[in-house]
């Protein structure tokens, strides 16, 4: 890897219309969490900043609006339309490259429920910043996969020319430009989900996946009455608890917490989370008693 490489930010493409799914793919639930949130948390473990790419019409959508956003730039939308090309992913990628010209983008689609830490690690470490992009070769047809790839700043001009030529397919772009292709070690990571049937199968596979065989390490922070009852403000814990609900039951038993779980909210990695969310090793968990600010 070239040491002069520019930093990499994350971009989740969530501007699609989900027409085949007939439901918003970003809001589909897996393991109790919306896919957009799962993708966001996954990327946030690998890059310093993560943004959600979307169309202007989607900016008030609640699944998306609470994240840092990069809205499709009107210039690029108009440029694509004038050339007779669809907008789509290329407009999202160009908008990100224009918003931060000195940054490379780890771009992922938000319909990849099996996307893994291993896959992101592989594309980031295998990246060649001297080319326009680094992508995986599809396990299905051997062609480049544009929507789990690192796009370098130098791709901006070439993408513009591609689009002004009336072309909207990012895969065709990767086939015809100098890019690095990797053989995916995690062969399932790029399986995408487009139809209700594919969603049902993916959800079943993920929701019934075996819980971690070994206890994992979590960081728990305690505040206010829970801090006093636990007698500590923080601890690192080995636990087999699969969800925050399980974890609270375990800790309430240990410390004799007087608050019922129904009175609390929970945060995982410093944002509000569902009680049924699947916990991952290294997660930081905070239980939130009834608040009294102001």
């Amino acid at each position: 890897m070239n040491t002069s490489a520019v930093p990499v930010y994350g971009l989740i493409l969530a501007g699609g219309s989900s027409s085949r799914m007939q439901r918003d793919k970003a809001a589909l639930l897996y393991q109790g969490a919306a896919q957009l949130d799962r993708a966001f948390d996954l990327l946030a473990r690998h890059v310093s900043r993560v943004f959600v790419s979307l169309r202007e019409a989607q900016t008030s959508d609640t699944t998306r609006a609470r994240r840092p956003l990069i809205v499709d730039a009107a210039t690029f939308v108009d440029e694509a339309a004038a050339a007779g090309a669809a907008g789509g992913p290329i407009v999202g990628i160009r908008s990100a490259l224009a918003a931060f010209p000195d940054v490379a983008w780890l771009v992922v689609a938000c319909d990849l429920p099996f996307l893994s830490d291993a896959a992101l690690e592989q594309v980031l470490t295998g990246r060649d910043p001297g080319l326009l992009a680094t992508a995986f070769r599809s396990t299905h047809d051997g062609l480049p996969e544009p929507l789990c790839a690192v796009w370098e700043p130098a791709a901006a001009a070439a993408l513009s020319a591609h689009q002004r030529g009336g072309r909207s397919c990012p895969r065709k772009f990767l086939i015809t430009h100098p890019v690095k292709l990797l053989e995916p070690a995690d062969r399932r990571a790029l399986d995408n989900v487009n139809t209700p049937e594919e969603y049902a199968a993916a959800k079943e596979a993920l929701d019934t996946a075996d819980p971690p065989a070994h206890p994992m390490q979590l960081t728990i922070q305690y505040f206010a009455i829970l801090r006093e009852q636990a007698g500590r403000s923080q601890e690192i814990l080995e636990t087999a608890a699969a969800t925050p609900a399980d974890l609270y039951a375990e800790l309430a038993g240990r410390y004799g917490f007087t608050l019922a779980r129904e009175q609390l909210k929970v945060a995982v990695n410093s944002d509000f989370a569902d009680w049924s969310r699947r916990l991952a090793a290294g997660d930081s968990v905070v239980f939130i008693p009834p608040v009294a600010g102001g």
Partner: protein
């Protein structure tokens, strides 16, 4: 940052300066003060504790919502942490806007949401020496208290302190 914490007294003159705007014809501020009584008990002092990583994030969301809902020029909210005495200022909200109506409305929106949503906790110390975490001690026996229901839907127009 349009929402922040301080562990020393809030400098309202400096905060007001931050929302000044030549296009603003109105400015509304709210100060929440430490009061000497609550629910029939005589209060002598308070402690505020916050989960700052989440509170800063949620606080910014609230301010962003206020900007989306009301045509305001500037808005700022500062919350105290640590030990406070009677009459100390616990929270300050300031809003400037072209007209007074939206400044009042946005200021009210911000303080109401801050009270309901931010992970901030208040420990009251009472005359007699005992103490308690507000909203956490008495409802323990009744998980579905009215207070909790208000938290869930934010419907309760929170009383200013």
């Amino acid at each position: 940052m349009r929402f922040r914490f301080t562990d020393t007294s809030i400098d309202t003159a400096a905060a007001r300066h931050e929302v000044l705007d030549a296009g603003a014809g109105g400015y509304v501020s709210f100060e929440g003060w430490v009061r000497n009584h609550n629910e029939g008990r005589e209060v002598t002092r308070l402690e505020y504790e916050a989960f700052q990583a989440l509170a800063l994030r949620e606080g910014e969301r609230i301010l962003a919502e206020a900007f989306a809902r009301f045509p305001v020029k500037h808005a700022l909210c500062i919350h105290r942490t640590g030990a406070l005495d009677l009459t100390d200022m616990a929270v300050w909200v300031g809003v400037s806007a072209a007209h007074r109506g939206e400044a009042f409305a946005a200021c009210r929106y911000i303080i109401d949401e801050v009270k309901h949503r931010l992970p901030i906790w208040k420990k009251e110390h009472y005359r007699g020496g005992d103490s308690g975490w507000v909203n956490c001690e008495h409802c323990a026996a009744a998980p579905r208290s009215a207070d909790h229901a208000a938290h869930a839907d934010h419907a309760d127009p929170a009383e200013a302190r």
